[in-house]
């Protein structure tokens, strides 16, 4: 049977780049688009699925009793993260989380709907496989990028080279720096952490390098700086992007010459210190703007590690939740048995602007709200629910959905048009045309200058 408005939906190649299963249907529930992830989860090929009703392909317990798509058509409101069970074409039972929204044409007429679904069984299986194999020191992750980092970490730790860690706030930059220190030959030496952004610039210099008695008023005796305290060990300079230009020059000298002078001293002190710097800013962009010294950047950027934000490694959420529950049970002498599917689905859909730290805080808060048994949606903060009000793929016009898909793909590829076009399976010029036609405001690529 022919399907309606097929060409009006985002193209298959764009949908294929998504990790979640996506099924677009017309108003008669016939499948119009079916992405690659949907093929994997359902075990049904797109060529077999397109034109059939969604219930025949999705085969979930929701289809015939509580169909999310039917509800969306009836109410006009999106359905978010309804947890259900499906049986795939191989007869395997999978737990899925389903969201649905309507799709309108440019005149506002409903032409169909989009259902996105995530296989929660997959994360459940991974959770049951044991998390030890995927942990490094105190860092826990099953994400492929993080596992690559775990693999290179021993070699990085051994090398004694300066390391630059880039990542959003709460991604575990200090945890990574500690892991490098603990794996390194300096592990028996001190690990000294300094948050450069938290100390006023006027004090930071004396804090880092120390001072001699008489260097300034009230400097009655010598005070060792953090570099001195870190002798034989590692110094972790967090928020390095916030350091003033004057101090950048002094840091450059330490990194180049391995010596520094405390304030008021005429003698240089050898710095037997490994430097690990971290920032939540894009240092390369700061260099471009002239706010950060290029020579210091290259001195720091010997080994660069990018920590992905939690929203890009959502598969870690279940194991991190388990980890935090176990920890807070131990610390607070409670017996919370876990988190229920609905609450986990809400967390899986949340973007975590505060990353792992925010997740940890959410679980700590849930421990206050939940006396025993499992953590439920009512124990989660409002912010988690507010994000549900704007589902990723609906409702919206075709243009809006396509714009969101393209922006998501660009974000995942660090705004590189070439890599995004490759990931979407379209020609670069097609992507440029779409960006222009959709009026997307795309920031410059953060990868374009690498290797220059």
């Amino acid at each position: 049977m022919p399907v309606k408005h097929r060409d009006a939906f985002p193209s298959g190649v764009i949908l294929d780049s998504m990790a979640d299963g996506v099924v677009a249907v017309d108003t008669e529930f016939r499948i119009v688009r079916f992405n690659r992830a949907a093929e994997t989860i359902t075990g049904t090929l797109a060529k077999d699925a397109v034109g059939r009703t969604c219930r025949e392909v999705l085969r979930s317990d929701l289809c015939e009793t509580d169909c999310p798509m039917k509800q969306v058509f009836e109410t006009g409101k999106p359905v978010i993260n309804r947890v259900g069970t499906m049986v795939n074409a191989r007869g395997e039972t999978r737990t899925i989380s389903v969201s649905a929204g309507i799709v309108k044409d440019e005149r506002g007429n409903i032409i169909g709907g989009v259902e996105t679904f995530r296989d929660l069984s997959l994360v459940e299986e991974i959770r049951q496989q044991g998390i030890k194999a995927y942990s490094c020191q105190d860092i826990l992750s099953i994400n492929h990028k993080m596992r690559q980092i775990f693999e290179i970490l021993p070699a990085v730790a051994d090398s004694n080279s300066t390391v630059l860690v880039e990542g959003e706030t709460g991604t575990g930059k200090e945890l990574l720096a500690r892991a490098i220190h603990n794996l390194s030959p300096r592990r028996n030496g001190p690990f000294v952490a300094v948050n450069c952004g938290a100390i006023p610039d006027t004090l930071l210099e004396s804090e880092l390098f120390g001072y001699k008695a008489g260097a300034f008023t009230d400097a009655k005796r010598d005070k060792p700086g953090r570099f001195s305290l870190a002798q034989g060990g590692t110094i972790f300079l967090d928020e390095i992007g916030d350091v003033s230009p004057a101090l950048q020059v002094r840091l450059l000298r330490v990194l180049q010459e391995r010596v520094f002078e405390p304030l008021g001293s005429v003698e240089s002190v050898m710095a037997d210190v490994r430097v690990i710097a971290a920032t939540n800013k894009n240092l390369e962009a700061l260099v471009d703007k002239g706010a950060f010294r290029k020579d210091l950047y290259y001195r720091l950027n010997i080994i660069k590690i990018d920590l992905p934000p939690l929203r890009e490694k959502k598969e870690d959420i279940p194991i991190l939740v388990d980890h935090f529950i176990a920890r807070f049970n131990r610390l607070q002498k409670k017996d919370i048995t876990g988190i229920n599917d609905d609450a986990l689905a809400l967390l899986m859909a949340y973007d975590f602007p505060g990353n792992v730290r925010e997740l940890e805080n959410i679980i700590e808060r849930a421990f206050v709200m939940c006396r025993s048994g499992q953590i439920e949606p009512s124990h989660l903060p409002d912010a988690v629910f507010e994000s549900q009000a704007t589902p990723a793929y609906g409702p919206g016009t075709i243009k809006e959905i396509e714009a969101r898909l393209i922006m998501d793909a660009l974000r995942r590829n660090n705004w590189s048009r070439l890599e995004t076009a490759r990931a979407l399976g379209i020609h670069k010029s097609t992507l440029f045309r779409k960006i222009k036609a959709l009026g997307l405001d795309v920031p410059p690529s953060t990868r374009k200058k690498q290797g220059q």
Binding site: R52, S60, C63, T85
Partner: protein, 139 residues
């Protein structure tokens, strides 16, 4: 053994088809209702409707056995439940779709292998059920 492409002349049996409205339910595990047909050769001699809404998945195989079902024709079915049904001595033809009465008619005529009665992308999925049937003989 019953084969989907074999005509059912001269055989008496009880056939169950889980339904959603008049159609074959997409998944037997979650089906709310079951049509039970008595078949004498090519003729349907009786039809009853059974409520399955409160029958838990692990109990469904026993329920079929209590009903005296010989053959289950259904949409999708989970491997575990299929194994239980087969182990109970009931044969299974999975991944069927369409109007329940038409599906039964097609089965009786030996035409159930027609692609219009097959769930999308599920033909390959039947293989594991044949393996299960072989396993039953071993048990």
């Amino acid at each position: 053994m019953h084969v989907a492409g074999e005509r059912m002349e001269g055989r008496i049996m009880r056939v169950a088809i889980p339904v959603y409205g008049d159609q074959v339910a997409t998944v037997f595990d979650f089906a709310q209702r079951l049509n039970v047909y008595d078949v004498d050769g090519m003729r349907v001699t009786g039809k009853a409707e059974v409520d399955m809404a409160d029958v838990l998945v692990p109990v469904r195989a026993f329920r079929l056995k209590d009903l005296g079902v010989d053959l289950l024709i259904c949409g999708a079915i989970s491997r575990d439940l299929a194994a239980m049904v087969v182990h109970s001595g009931i044969e299974v033809i999975p991944f069927a779709r369409g109007m329940a009465d038409e599906v039964l008619g097609a089965f009786l005529m030996g035409a159930l292998t027609d692609t219009r009665f097959a769930m999308p992308g599920c033909r390959a999925g039947q293989r594991w059920l044949r393996q299960r049937r072989r396993m039953r003989r071993k048990w």
